[in-house]
């Protein structure tokens, strides 16, 4: 296959190039590649990105197929421009042993759309009591461990898990949340929570565990990754830790760099997400953190839910936003077009950095690299219509929001898996 005449987003530049794909690899990148009779994609006026990698999604299978399954989630992923996703272990049964990891890998092959990398649990049943079978899961294909949805409450157990995981080069993805401080809260604790009469979640609930994980990473001299950073103070701690040479990486999500907790005042339960969407000061710090490299990755924390889980009282509603189909558009609209990040930086945050952190093949368009590619039109506008999502989860509060940037092709191992 030849991708012809596209604006190719390389590591440090954007260049008009032709790209030759053969045998699942990027074979050649050149000014002009003569036709060889294989399929050609005309990418003039379009941009060619490395296939996006979302290292934080919930595919809900096994156990919660009413919300999403691996097939519907993968369809949504390739529509969103993603060639690889990492799915969190809070399924039923929990991904805490090699059997469930193997099941997901089998489903990945059956569905055959994007690459699906299971994240195994840190503790058995996500209960925070004893370590899960980390080595077995790694051998079966898990790329990281996480108790996402909860923090491991016991600091000693967390330390032991990180220390043990170090022996297998498998990184902990840390969901940072002190449940005692959350205390049943459902939105950011601040003026808007007071106005809406909803119980708040203070920044400190997140920050205290971020600080703990950084301390453990320093103590053990092992890498640690902080999930879905939402607070300005969390950004500051991660920045300071990086400056001190601690091996910490971090991610944030489109809803944290695009919105503030103003949006909760409608009581739309689709705005309920964990951690909560916070204030302007947090949003600005997250944008600054993306710009200066404190925040390495953009993930979606794609958290699809059934309407029944959301059509209830705000306190009662499930946490989470279905966001994998809108992430690229938000990045182009709110980061690239507003001058926060270059296209190269966006490609790195949404592909390169996740690949480096997890040791995945991909993340960059280069000769000899895997033929995972996404082609997009950056000037085409579209309006978010959650009811039309491919994902089973229609729980996205940004319906009506106009985005720039439409994914046109998603190519996995050289095969077109999505075409607009």
């Amino acid at each position: 296959m030849i991708i012809r005449n596209g604006n190719v987003v390389l590591k440090n530049s954007v260049e008009k190039k032709d790209i030759l794909l053969q045998g699942g690899k990027i074979v050649k990148i050149a000014e002009y590649i003569p036709a060889d009779g294989s399929e050609e994609i005309d990418a003039s006026d379009k941009h060619v990105f490395p296939g996006l990698i979302d290292m934080h999604v919930h595919l809900r299978e096994p156990g919660f197929e009413r919300k999403e399954d691996i097939e519907s989630g993968a369809k949504a992923a390739v529509k969103g421009g993603f060639t690889q996703v990492c799915c969190m272990p809070n399924t039923n049964p929990v991904v805490d042993n090699k059997v469930v990891v193997t099941y997901i890998k089998v489903r990945e092959k059956e569905v055959n759309l994007c690459k699906i990398h299971p994240v195994g649990a840190i503790t058995k049943g996500l209960k925070g009591e004893e370590m899960a079978a980390i080595a077995g899961m790694k051998k079966a294909g898990a790329v990281a461990i996480s108790d996402d949805g909860v923090a491991v409450k016991n600091a000693r157990l967390m330390r032991l898990a990180m220390e043990y995981a170090k022996g297998f080069d498998i990184i902990c993805l840390c969901h940072c949340e002190d449940k005692d401080l959350v205390d049943g809260g459902s939105v950011h604790e601040g003026l808007n929570a007071t106005i809406a009469g909803l119980k708040g979640i203070p920044r400190a609930a997140e920050d205290i565990i971020i600080a703990r994980e950084i301390a453990l990473a320093e103590e053990l001299d092992t890498p640690v990754h902080i999930c879905h950073v939402s607070t300005y103070s969390g950004v500051r701690m991660i920045r300071d830790a990086k400056r001190a040479g601690i091996k910490v990486t971090a991610e944030t999500c489109p809803h944290y760099y695009s919105f503030t907790d103003e949006i909760i005042k409608t009581y739309d339960t689709n705005t309920k997400v964990n951690p909560p969407i916070r204030e302007e000061i947090d949003k600005q710090a997250i944008l600054a953190g993306l710009k200066d490299g404190t925040l390495d990755c953009i993930v979606t924390d794609h958290a699809p839910h059934h309407a029944d889980d959301k059509n209830v009282e705000y306190n009662q509603a499930a946490f989470g936003i279905s966001g994998i189909e809108t992430s690229f558009g938000f990045a182009i609209t709110n980061l690239y077009k507003k001058g926060v990040l270059s296209l190269n930086e966006i490609a790195d945050k949404m592909s390169g950095a996740p690949a480096r952190i997890l040791g995945l093949d991909g993340g960059e368009i280069k000769e000899g690299g895997v033929a995972d590619i996404m082609i997009a039109d950056l000037d085409e506008q579209w309006t978010i219509e959650p009811e039309k999502f491919v994902s089973k989860g229609k729980n996205n509060p940004f319906g009506g929001y106009v985005l720039d940037g439409v994914v046109k092709y998603t190519i996995v191992n050289g095969d077109v898996k999505y075409k607009a």
Partner: protein, 307 residues
């Protein structure tokens, strides 16, 4: 004209709307005092009282109000209904709507629940208290008693003491009183002051002296024993000594200041018996104001439905 389908909170109710409710409520209050208890504005209307939380005062007050107006009233306690079988609020609301209820008066332990219900039903929804959010008719009845006593709300200084953080009464009063041009001061342990309350117009004070200085109205709020157990302050004794109002503390307010409390009162905690039973206490008058204000709210929402 009260131009709305529902009365969910005072956050967005204008001064003219509040005045209209209070004017009509005052008329009803005067008529009831004269012994007139059949005011048949709402004959052929039905009201369902749907309470997800225990209440005697507010529930009976709404029931009395609807009955004085000639409406038929059904009481549903969530603990004895399909809710206990796991029915969702939306489904319960749709059932009540299908029965052609004109009004649903709801108390719920979760903030925002009446907004969810109101969106889903044709009936007019009256919020009888939702979690830590609002309790609009309580604030209206407080304002009726204040206005009746002082003639106007404009420029009044209202001191609110107690568990502000978990009080829907404090919040509705703050919204309503600020809209009407009154001043609101607050005093409570720091653990019971919600974030951002000053941005909403309250003055948070450092002492009882500061809060009560020049106050026309002293409002005590119920200290909820279950909250106290959550460790917001060390003991009821320490609370009473530092945050409670006794007759001596009451002297800090204006000589003609009145005492209000939404009830039920913990005697000797937020207010001493000497204050509760003081000649300046209007706590009993608040009860009749409550019936009158709820009658006015029902009538005006009914007019809005007709329009």
């Amino acid at each position: 004209m009260l131009n709305r389908k529902d009365l969910l909170g005072l956050i967005d109710v204008s001064a003219s709307e509040i005045t209209e409710i209070l004017d009509l409520a005052q008329e009803f209050k005067n008529r009831i005092k004269k012994g007139e208890k059949k005011i048949s504005h709402l004959q052929n209307k039905t009201a369902t009282i749907l309470f997800y939380e225990n209440s005697t005062r507010t529930r009976t007050s709404f029931e009395q109000a609807a009955k004085y107006l000639g409406a038929s009233v059904i009481n549903i306690a969530a603990s004895t209904s399909s809710v206990a079988k796991g029915e969702t609020l939306i489904d319960t609301g749709k059932t009540l709507d299908a029965q052609r209820n004109d009004f649903i008066i709801m108390r719920h332990y979760m903030g925002g629940a009446p907004y969810l219900l109101a969106k889903m039903v044709n009936a007019s929804v009256l919020n009888a208290g939702d979690g830590i959010n609002e309790h609009p008719t309580q604030a209206l009845l407080d304002m009726l008693t204040m206005r009746e006593t002082f003639g106007s709300l404009k420029g009044l200084k209202v001191a609110i003491l107690g568990d502000i953080k978990h009080s829907r009464v404090a919040k509705s009063n703050l919204f309503g009183l600020k809209t009407m041009g009154a001043e609101v001061t607050m005093f409570a342990p720091h653990t019971l002051i919600p974030k951002g309350i000053e941005e909403l117009g309250a003055k948070v004070c450092r002492s009882r002296e500061e809060a009560l200085d020049g106050a026309d109205v002293v409002m005590g709020l119920r200290i909820q024993l279950e909250r106290q157990q959550a460790g917001n302050f060390p003991s009821l004794g320490e609370y009473a000594a530092n945050y409670g109002v006794d007759e001596k503390i009451l002297e800090l307010a204006k000589p003609n200041a009145i005492v209000l409390h939404p009830g039920p009162v913990n005697r000797g905690v937020e207010l001493t018996s000497g204050v509760i039973d003081h000649e300046r206490s209007h706590i009993e008058d608040q009860v009749l104001s409550g019936v009158a204000v709820r009658m006015a709210a029902l009538c005006l929402l009914n007019d809005a439905r007709k329009a």
